[in-house]
């Protein structure tokens, strides 16, 4: 099998315009006969649902939350990029495109990324028209800041709540369509499976979380906007309920999963305090602008930070990367932190954590300046940890944050199952092996507002899709299979909670498939995960029944999928013996310990096709061709 990315011909800058023109349109009178199912109501899902409904389609939108406003897009703090060049600092669509491709370590598709940069401006216009209160200058125009090491100021923001404000914008557009009857909203309904008939996605099977009702929904097309899978690590900055179930079950139905090993680990998070830790909290990366990162030189030194003299401190980033120092890129900063902790220099009661020290900055700039710059972050840190960062150094540690991998999609955002579209973090398309700061919000909204609504029309017009009968064989069978998974979980009646297995899986993934991966470790993980999975199916305890609000059952289903998905991730990491972006293979580094890409061997997308739970999936390669940018190697020495 091979995968056709359907990248339109022509010069890079004209591809999207030409493609839109060549796409077939659905006759307005036929649009209302077409029913589109959108799973997920975050930035991508809500924006797509609203826009499709505005176009005249019947839309059914599903979320497992109690309200579409709760999706984890809401937690993005930093901002959203757009190539507006309002600051006249030399930004352009091409520069945003180039920065994104380079930031993705040359593992993304040029055409997709260019389109993303192209529509980025429209997103800001759209959001402002919806009433998103972006920060403004005194003249009344929009304010920008530079973010994530970008050399231009192209990031738009709304205090520290950009994600929430953008989501509320999309949610308001969605609410408007709900009130007009154009969108039917299904809250507290979780996807169990995708129904594929005759090679096309025909609908979904869902479970109502309150009543346990298993229902069939048929549609002309299915859109997954179900987010990323960072929670495979158990501890991540993702919300507690984020999961891989929708994308993984689509994978089991034949959609290819692309680059699952590309995960982004954020260096500045609050470290875990013990086994009961439920998740990790992200602190803005901007803290590294003025904070100095260090650990005690002596391993196991448990003295309080302020009583360790200057000459017994190891400012390891400044030592190893003299020119970038504490501002070394995310992956390098993260990896170095883990290295020093693994070597026994970690700080805090648990020994996982490094100091981020502001005492020098406070001495140099004064406490007031630091307060003005980071006051809210210091406040948040103090609320969570009880420590005062003005007096004692902060403790930080890396945590999984975003997953670049996801379901494989072509230029039209359609997966390898015709009729199944995937948008937002759930797909793999735009970030390559690493994501730039403030680009996640941009991609989610680009897909939902400006890309999918065009490309889905072409599919519906070309395929002349008929909505299937939910009493048909395909629906019946898929539903039975979904029910049997539930019954199986309920019948184990073991002794351990699903969270226990999730934590154990997280430890394996973090240890062997985290910031630094190597052959031996990944092989070990590939041995341990199936064992853990077997133990899960023999010893998990899921009390209650299917006919009521049963959170134990919800969680157990998600953990069951993570237990299979973890294996796929490790397999992908094992086969990619280069280091690129968020994926660092210990075997592939320069003499200085820098990640080493192998463009000759690995300039491709790894798309995995499911063959059976205990079987090795098939690897399908989509070659990446770079016609417009030159593959460069970064150096942070």
């Amino acid at each position: 099998m091979s995968l056709d990315s359907k990248i339109p011909p022509g010069p890079l800058a004209d591809k999207w315009t030409n493609h839109k023109f060549k796409s077939k349109l659905v006759n307005p009178s036929n649009k209302r006969k077409q029913k589109v199912i959108v799973v997920g109501s975050g930035l991508a899902g809500a924006s797509a649902s609203a826009t499709l409904a505005e176009l005249g389609y019947q839309v059914h939108c599903f979320t497992f939350h109690d309200s579409p406003r709760r999706a984890h897009s809401i937690a993005a703090q930093g901002g959203i990029n757009a190539a507006k060049n309002y600051q006249n600092d030399g930004d352009s669509v091409y520069r945003l495109f180039y920065d994104t491709v380079k930031g993705g370590d040359f593992r993304s598709r040029e055409a997709n990324v260019y389109r993303l940069a192209e529509v980025s401006s429209n997103i800001i216009d759209q959001c402002v028209a919806q009433g998103v209160p972006f920060a403004r200058e005194y003249g009344g125009h929009l304010a920008n800041r530079s973010f994530g090491g970008a050399q231009v100021s192209r990031t738009f923001y709304a205090r520290g709540q950009t994600g929430q404000q953008l989501l509320l914008g999309a949610y308001s557009a969605l609410s408007r369509q709900i009130s007009l009857g154009a969108v039917t909203m299904h809250t507290r309904v979780e996807l169990l499976d995708i129904v594929v008939d005759d090679g096309h996605a025909k609908g979904i099977i869902t479970r109502n979380l309150e009543t346990g009702e298993i229902a069939c929904h048929a549609g002309s097309a299915v859109v997954l906007a179900t987010g990323g899978y960072s929670n495979v690590f158990y501890l991540s900055t993702n919300a507690k309920n984020c999961n891989v179930t929708a994308t993984y079950r689509a994978y089991k139905r034949g959609a290819c999963f692309a680059n699952p090993c590309y995960t982004q680990i954020h260096p500045t998070c609050i470290p875990p305090t013990g086994d009961a830790q439920a998740k990790l909290t992200l602190m803005s990366e901007s803290l590294r602008n003025d904070g100095r990162i260090w650990v005690p030189k002596k391993a196991g030194d448990k003295r309080p930070a302020n009583s360790i003299p200057e000459d017994e401190r190891d400012y390891y980033l400044e030592r190893k990367y003299p020119s970038f120092g504490n501002l070394a890129p995310r992956d390098i900063a993260s990896r170095s932190a883990k290295e020093v902790c693994d070597a026994g220099h970690g700080v805090g009661a648990t020994g996982v954590g490094v100091y981020l020290d502001f005492s020098h900055a406070i001495k140099r700039l004064g406490e007031d300046t630091i307060r003005a710059r980071y006051g809210n972050l210091f406040h948040m840190y103090q609320k969570i940890t009880g420590d005062n960062p003005y007096e004692v150094p902060m403790k930080i540690y890396p945590a999984p944050h975003y997953t670049m991998g996801g379901l494989w999609v072509d230029y039209n955002l359609m997966s390898s199952i015709p009729g199944l579209f995937v948008i937002g973090e759930a797909n793999f398309s735009d970030h390559g092996a690493n994501r730039l700061g403030a680009s996640a919000l941009m991609q989610g909204l680009a897909d939902g507002y400006f890309v999918l609504p065009y490309t889905i029309g072409n599919y519906l017009a070309t395929e002349k899709v008929e909505i299937a009968d939910t009493d048909g064989e395909a629906f019946k069978q898929t539903k039975e299979e979904a029910v049997s998974v539930i019954n199986k979980l309920l019948s184990v009646k073991g002794t351990k909670s699903s969270s226990h297995f999730h934590r154990e899986l997280g430890k394996i993934m973090w240890e062997y498939c985290g910031m630094s991966r190597d052959d031996a470790g990944l092989k070990k993980a590939l041995e341990q995960i199936p064992q853990l999975r077997e133990e899960f199916w023999n010893d998990v305890s899921v009390l209650g029944d299917n006919d009521s609000y049963n959170q134990a059952l919800e969680r157990a289903q998600r953990v069951a999928d993570f237990l299979e998905f973890g294996e796929l991730m490790c397999l992908d990491a094992l086969t990619r013996t280069e280091s690129c972006g968020g994926h660092f293979r210990a075997e592939s580094q320069t003499d200085e310990g820098e990640a080493q890409r192998k463009d000759d061997e690995f300039s491709y997308v790894s798309a995995w096709k499911f063959q059976g739970v205990e079987k090795t999936p098939e690897l399908i390669r989509e070659e990446l061709n770079f016609e417009n940018v030159e593959l460069a190697v970064r150096s942070y020495k």
């Binding site: 505005e54 028209a129 408007r176 009130s179 007009l180 009857g181």
Partner: protein
């Protein structure tokens, strides 16, 4: 399409972008202002404001008791000499009072229905006692008004002091008042009720500003202070009369 809109003291041009026509038309027409919770609150605020006006005017009248029996009785006689305006004011007051009461109970019904199962553990973070017991103080005030009318307007209580006339042949209101407050039960009841009125007003006046939409924080803080001062002034003003009677400052001689 360009349209010129005015809003909030600023004029600006709004560039309208798309939007389905007749967007809002599919919805039913709005409920009437007076049946909405905000409308009812506004009625409470406006009637409350008018009642405060009465309370202040009445206080000004009453304080004339300190000027002696002649002045005070003449004032009462003057009011009686203009039956037209007096009755208009009385009927107006009754209507306002009834509206205030009706809306209070109507809102109370909505409020009770809004939380059918109450918290097992009750806690209050910042709500003042006055704000939490508005209904209770209000009911006390209602009882007081009835008793007060029965006492001084209709003469059902202490009828022996009610029918007296002074040297000028006017109704001796001064005598009735002093006799009334010399009775410790009536005086105590009066003082208690006026304190309740003060508590009611201390929240009621500031609440009125909020309900009527005075929202600028710096103005609001000043209004809050003003509200407390007005409530305190009214309370002290009224209480001063029975206290003066008890302390023999206002006497029959």
């Amino acid at each position: 399409m360009f349209c010129l809109c005015t809003g909030d003291r600023k004029v600006f041009i709004y560039l309208q972008t798309g939007g389905t026509s007749n967007e809002w038309e599919h919805m039913s027409s709005p409920q009437s202002f007076f049946s909405s919770t905000i409308g009812k609150k506004v009625v409470m605020a406006v009637t409350g404001f008018l009642l405060i006006g009465f309370v202040v005017a009445h206080l000004v009248g009453n304080l004339q008791v300190f000027l002696g029996a002649e002045v005070f009785n003449a004032y009462a006689a003057f009011l009686k000499s203009i039956p037209g305006p007096l009755w208009i004011a009385r009927i107006g007051l009754i209507v306002i009072f009834v509206l205030h009461l009706y809306n209070a109970f109507s809102l109370r019904k909505i409020i009770s229905a809004a939380r059918p199962v109450d918290y097992n553990k009750q806690a209050t973070v910042q709500a003042s006692a006055a704000s939490r017991y508005m209904l209770h103080t209000g009911v006390v005030i209602l009882l007081f008004v009835i008793v007060h009318l029965a006492h001084f307007t209709l003469g059902y209580l202490q009828p022996e002091h009610f029918s007296k006339t002074d040297a000028l042949g006017q109704h001796d209101v001064y005598y009735m008042l002093v006799q009334g407050f010399l009775n410790p039960v009536y005086a105590g009841f009066y003082i208690f009720c006026i304190v309740m009125l003060g508590i009611h007003l201390s929240h009621g006046i500031s609440s009125m500003f909020q309900t009527l939409g005075f929202c600028r924080p710096n103005v609001k803080n000043k209004l809050e202070l003003a509200a407390k001062a007005i409530a305190a002034g009214i309370t002290l003003g009224y209480i001063s009369i029975p206290l003066a009677v008890i302390a023999n400052v206002v006497t029959l001689s």
